[in-house]
């Protein structure tokens, strides 16, 4: 029982690697408590060996994502009061990524796919050229803007069943990134990028389930971005610019 009179939370947290198990802790309930606060309490007061990741605590860095009561979520912006079932909370590592230990997953596959999707800006000018003005009201800039606020949290990647079934699948975040660059008129790597995202595990593997959109904490719509890539790659193929 806490000073606020609320019963303690019963929090099950994944401990160990892939073959680990849930262990249950009792955590005092507080007002405006986030899931990250709960995990931090366990590590500071109950078990200092608990591993997890966070940095900004304000929804900007994308490092704190975990599976909370079965759903992937950013834990620093998830209030316990919104997600606890009764006084119970289950916190596990993100799905679809190898578990390093406890709540920390190995994000390498996620970021490697970001590279595979050519999610890196390819400059078309040098530092000696004048800066190219890009009007915010152009259609392409608006399309890029719609997807550009991704914080790389991996929530969509953990929510996507296609990622689970197809280990080659680049996943929603990497493809969403490719789409924002495909709409960047300053980028010089378009053909290579379209070729990369049209490959086996690319945009055409997406089933348009929209689980990624449903779970993205930034309310982005990777499904729409991937649909855009499907159209762009199909057109590029018809024009003979990329190969099947």
């Amino acid at each position: 029982m806490t000073p606020s009179g609320k019963p303690d939370l019963s929090v099950s947290i994944w401990r160990g690697g892939a073959d680990g198990a849930y262990r249950t802790y009792s955590v005092p309930s507080r007002d405006s408590q986030t899931v990250l606060d709960v995990v931090t309490y366990v590590q500071r007061h109950l078990d200092p060996t608990l591993s997890y990741r966070f940095a900004c605590r304000v929804g900007m860095c994308g490092s704190c994502a975990m599976t909370v009561n079965g759903r992937p979520r950013w834990t620093c912006r998830t209030h316990v009061s919104r997600v606890a079932k009764g006084d119970k909370l289950t916190v596990g590592p993100l799905e679809n990524l190898p578990v390093v230990k406890d709540l920390a997953t190995d994000m390498r596959p996620f970021f490697e796919k970001w590279q595979d999707a050519k999610g890196v800006f390819e400059p078309s000018k040098t530092r000696d050229d004048a800066i190219e003005p890009i009007r915010p009201d152009t259609r392409q800039r608006q399309l890029a803007d719609a997807g550009v606020e991704c914080i790389n949290c991996g929530v969509c990647y953990a929510a996507c069943d296609t990622v689970k079934w197809n280990t080659d699948y680049l996943g929603p975040a990497a493809l969403n990134r490719a789409w924002t660059l495909a709409n960047d008129v300053r980028d010089a790597g378009q053909t290579e990028r379209l070729q990369a995202v049209a490959s086996g595990g690319g945009c055409h593997a997406c089933h348009s389930h929209q689980s990624c959109q449903e779970h993205c904490p930034q309310t982005l719509n990777p499904t729409a971005s991937i649909a855009g890539l499907k159209r762009l790659t199909a057109l590029a193929y018809l024009r003979g610019e990329i190969e099947a």
């Binding site: 079965g70 348009s208 449903e214 719509n221 159209r231």
Partner: protein, 116 residues
């Protein structure tokens, strides 16, 4: 699967994908039977008449209603996906998917009333 693995999947669009996949499988299983019956029409008229009498049984009509539903829901759901992927994005996909399911049920119901 981890704890509550299904809980996050409980949304209309995930079910739409599931229904689309299952209805596709159902239709794929039905199709060879359909062609077999068509073959009877060419090869053996008497057996075809026998099949028609069998197909008049209410239980078979109920099965056919199910097939009409599968066909309608697969067709309408497929159209929705084609629109999503080939034209400018529109919101409200969950509502559209539910509407496709509802319309398919209505079509199957109308079929049932007409054949009974």
């Amino acid at each position: 699967m981890s704890v509550g693995a299904l809980s996050r999947r409980r949304n209309a669009l995930w079910y739409a994908a599931l229904v689309h996949r299952l209805s596709g499988l159902g239709l794929a299983v039905f199709l060879p039977l359909h062609f077999l019956t068509l073959a009877l029409a060419v090869e053996d008229g008497a057996r075809l008449d026998g099949f028609f009498r069998f197909a008049d049984m209410p239980a078979v009509k109920l099965g056919e209603t199910g097939l009409v539903f599968l066909l309608a829901v697969h067709f309408l759901g497929g159209l929705r996906i084609l629109f999503v992927e080939n034209f400018t994005w529109r919101g409200n996909q969950a509502k559209l998917a539910s509407a496709a399911g509802g319309l398919a049920m209505l079509l199957a119901f109308v079929f049932l009333i007409r054949v009974l």
